[in-house]
Symmetry: C2
Subunit: 147 residues, 2 copies
């Protein structure tokens, strides 16, 4: 049986602390809450610092987009073997509500896993559980050394 602790690859090595988180994830305060690679779902959390604020004191939408990119991508990356990665081709975000700086929760899922193209979706929730933004993304699976 393969347990999560046995898994290798960018995502699992980071989650297990074998490699440091990438700078972008560290900047966003990324942390894993729960992951189910068989279901293609993930829940993560972010710390939206005051440094992400726009002139009216709410998180600039682009940083919510960055958090959603770091929610949807990992839902897929957690399912990949260690020699594969999945650059985002296309990201579409709808900003439903203003988000104050603080803890935000991201929920991501693999909507369709094609041979190399995958469709992802998810949402970002504020402290009171309201959805502040939703996103869809299209990504392509690449094998290292073959691109």
């Amino acid at each position: 049986m393969t347990t999560h602790a046995d898994r290798r690859g960018m995502f699992w090595d980071m989650v297990a602390g074998r490699v440091p988180p990438p700078p972008a994830a560290a900047l966003l305060g990324w942390e894993l809450v729960a992951v189910d690679p068989e279901a293609g779902t993930i829940e993560v959390a972010f710390r939206a610092g005051e440094q992400f604020a726009n002139p009216v004191g709410v998180v600039q939408g682009g940083f919510l987009a960055a958090m959603l990119d770091d929610t949807l991508g990992p839902a897929l990356v957690a399912t990949l073997p260690e020699d594969q990665f999945a650059p985002t081709l296309d990201l579409h975000v709808q900003f439903l509500r203003p988000a104050r700086p603080g803890r935000l929760v991201g929920r991501g899922r693999v909507v369709r896993r094609g041979r190399d193209v995958c469709f992802l979706a998810g949402e970002l929730l504020g402290p009171d559980g309201d959805v502040v933004a939703t996103a869809t993304a299209t990504v392509v699976v690449r094998t290292m050394g073959r691109h």
Copy 2:
């Protein structure tokens, strides 16, 4: 005659140094290159630091999205009176090429200015002038104290 130096409002106060840039703009290393409020066009530049990198050393797509949000929005905001602002409702980004950390140039434009809804578009260029990402956004103009 109204010169740029006479203009007031969030955008012009920041550009003239009367107010500090919002934290999100400062974090992205935002700077104004050129703006033409009559034409609804803008050119800005960003410093994509190493802290925006993903595991393969290129800028995480979400931060390119943040830069595009801070390119398209200001193209419109530069045209608004000082009691108005324009939250982004919807942002769609296509990632054409990987972008290395460094200086990136954003070009934004107002595609259609409706009564309160506006359609914006733009692109982000790498050091060699290649387009690394393109975006469209839908925003709504709000008047302070009336929402």
